[in-house]
Symmetry: C2
Subunit: 393 residues, 2 copies
């Protein structure tokens, strides 16, 4: 190969999202294309207080190099919360603080994936995860998502040809589909994986954002020794801070720490202390409840808008939480054609084929509901409905 | 291979430093083993002010997701400083903000090194860089350091066998040796590299910390199209924040941005804004001058102590800046044997073989002078001198 670049970087899929988000800077547009939390809900005042307290009480120490594993007090707080909220028994030693959960994906891939290893992903799946995994050149094995979760017949067919090295899942309010795995689906998957040499990566950035239905057990509960659980403060506190974590079996942890050191030595210690202080001095559950109520309202507004303005031939998911809803045009239609019309009508979304590794999903689209007001969502779905009707003609 | 781990992670050299630093927690020890900036010089009050101003003026926005390239205002400030201080013409678009310069090394390796590519490193070299590079499995080609810089005869021999893909250098006050490349040495290296398909990575974490002698030109000046320059706020503001950058030719930048997205989406936007504000409201040059004076005093105290207490058969470097000094026992002696005696005498350092990829340097040691007071440095060198004398017996 004559390129100066490493082979691994040449295979990373391009993101349509970056390009489309530029349009979103024009405020006459209504954007369902983003993936951002609602900024009106960020706890600015509380974090400011926490920052001041940290400077006051930690002094010089908070500005020095720190442990690669992360601040022990924060790891304890995360472990305690897992126990209280989900009954998960995870020790602070099994928690590694990461620079956002995006870094968690990168470290896992770096430590565990050889080129050509089989990696099961959901179809569709989270684009930035696919990009991070791509750099380690696994063999992607997509298994379709159904309304109930991952298609277990599809997963069994994968196992018939040999155990995959890894399964990457977002079981709660998945990005991009908004789908949540049912309790039964989780048990079926755990039964298939149990006893095999497969690591299951459970990415759970949205798990706390449930506004309907009731929680199903974590894979970390069902398959404790095979599951690496990823978490983040991005959706419940602030994404700017880049603060996440992973919970991994101890046998894997020592290698993950080596990879963490090589990647960035440690995550900003100041940020870790600030969020630790924030958690100590505030009722995070009350704050999360506010986010849930807001996103629930926004999601219902979007479903109402879709049912009022979209042709009946368009199907959609009914998320129980999270930030995204998924819609499908009739099979023969293309959401790339739709976006051209929609842009003229000043409404945007992300064409669904972006979230597939094989060009499928041409008729689908991802709609984000967290960054527009209820009225705006109504207007946006009306514009989008009209655009679909124009395309149908 | 039967391991669950990826092959790349199994080849990373272990760090002796982590183990030895545990001893340093005992305050009766004098430690020359660390690699930490002096915490008494951290601008706590000024950063606290900057944080408050950022919360006040940026509001919600500072807590939202941000650009992968980094905050444009900060990239402009870095570019301006390069122009004013070194006459380097680098545009903000050629600067990528990284989560510490450690991440810069990881991104460069990820984008540019295929397995087996030839990578020239200094002998000895910076351990955490060797670890980060190791994960991409290059063929390490060490070229010895001399008092004047990299051994150019050694480098020419490397080129005789074919141009290496990359050269990794720390030309100013190198870690671990404290050596600075002379102006002549830089020109000779630039002549060898010029016109070849080699990328030169110029890691410059300590460049601002000169307390003696006069600056020599950056490789970015001599080889602008072949050099990737790494910088960091760790040594001039605070390492806890994890804020660094790289300056790369535009042709490489787009791939580096893809790797950055995959690694952690972006560096903490809050941290970027806080340091931007700090730079805007304070005279960083005055602050750096304080660090230089302090480190210069500490370095001279160490040299005085060595000359007073060490046997004359021990040689050492005379750093013109930075944080480290390098000493060599007579060839037949081992600094690993010395550390066992030194620990009993309550003084520690890092055995030099840690910084070699091939087991050489058994008689050498790295001494850090930034984290002990002048009196403590005197006592520490006395203890270490006595330990050497015991070993000589």
């Amino acid at each position: 190969m004559d390129s100066i670049f490493a082979d691994r970087i040449t295979g990373v899929p391009r993101s349509f999202i970056r390009e489309i988000l530029k349009v979103a800077l024009d405020h006459t547009f209504i954007s369902f294309a983003g993936g951002l939390p609602n900024p009106n809900l960020f706890p600015v005042k509380e974090l400011k207080k926490a920052a001041n307290k940290v400077f006051r009480t930690f002094g010089n120490d908070v500005l020095q190099y720190a442990d690669s594993e992360g601040y022990y007090g924060l790891r304890e707080a995360i472990a305690r919360r897992y126990f209280e909220k989900k009954g998960l028994e995870i020790s602070p030693e099994e928690i590694l603080i990461t620079t956002g959960s995006q870094q968690g994906i990168d470290l896992i891939a770096k430590c565990l994936l050889n080129e050509g290893d089989s990696l099961v992903i959901e179809e569709p799946s989270y684009l930035a995860a696919i990009q991070a995994f791509s750099l380690y050149r696994p063999r992607f094995t997509p298994v379709p998502l159904r309304d109930e979760g991952m298609d277990t017949d599809g997963l069994k067919r994968v196992y018939a040809a040999g155990s995959p090295k890894m399964i990457y899942t977002i079981p709660n309010f998945q990005n991009p589909s908004g789908i949540t795995y049912s309790e039964r689906n989780r048990h079926e998957i755990a039964d298939i994986v149990s006893g095999k040499r497969t690591l299951l990566v459970e990415d759970d950035p949205y798990g706390e954002l449930r506004f309907a239905g009731s929680p199903a057990p974590s894979f970390k509960k069902l398959l404790p020794e095979s599951t690496i659980l990823l978490g983040t403060f991005s959706k419940i506190v602030s994404p700017s801070l880049r603060l996440g974590w992973l919970a991994a079996p101890e046998a894997i942890m020592s290698k993950l720490i080596i990879a963490k050191q090589a990647a960035d030595l440690h995550t900003s210690y100041f940020i870790q202390c600030m969020v630790y202080q924030y958690l100590k001095d505030n009722d995070i559950d009350k704050h999360i409840e506010k986010i849930r109520e807001c996103y629930g309202r926004q999601c219902r507004a979007m479903i109402n808008g879709i049912e009022e303005f979209f042709p009946a031939s368009v199907t959609h998911t009914r998320p129980e939480g999270g930030m995204f809803l998924w819609a499908a045009l009739p099979e023969y239609m293309s959401s790339r054609d739709l976006i051209d019309i929609a842009i003229k009508d000043k409404v945007i979304f992300v064409p669904g084929d972006t979230f597939f590794v094989n060009g499928r999903g041409a008729n689908t689209m991802r709609l984000n509901f967290t960054c527009s007001g209820v009225e705006e969502i109504r207007t946006g779905t009306e514009r989008l409905g009209n655009a679909i009707k124009k395309l149908l003609k």
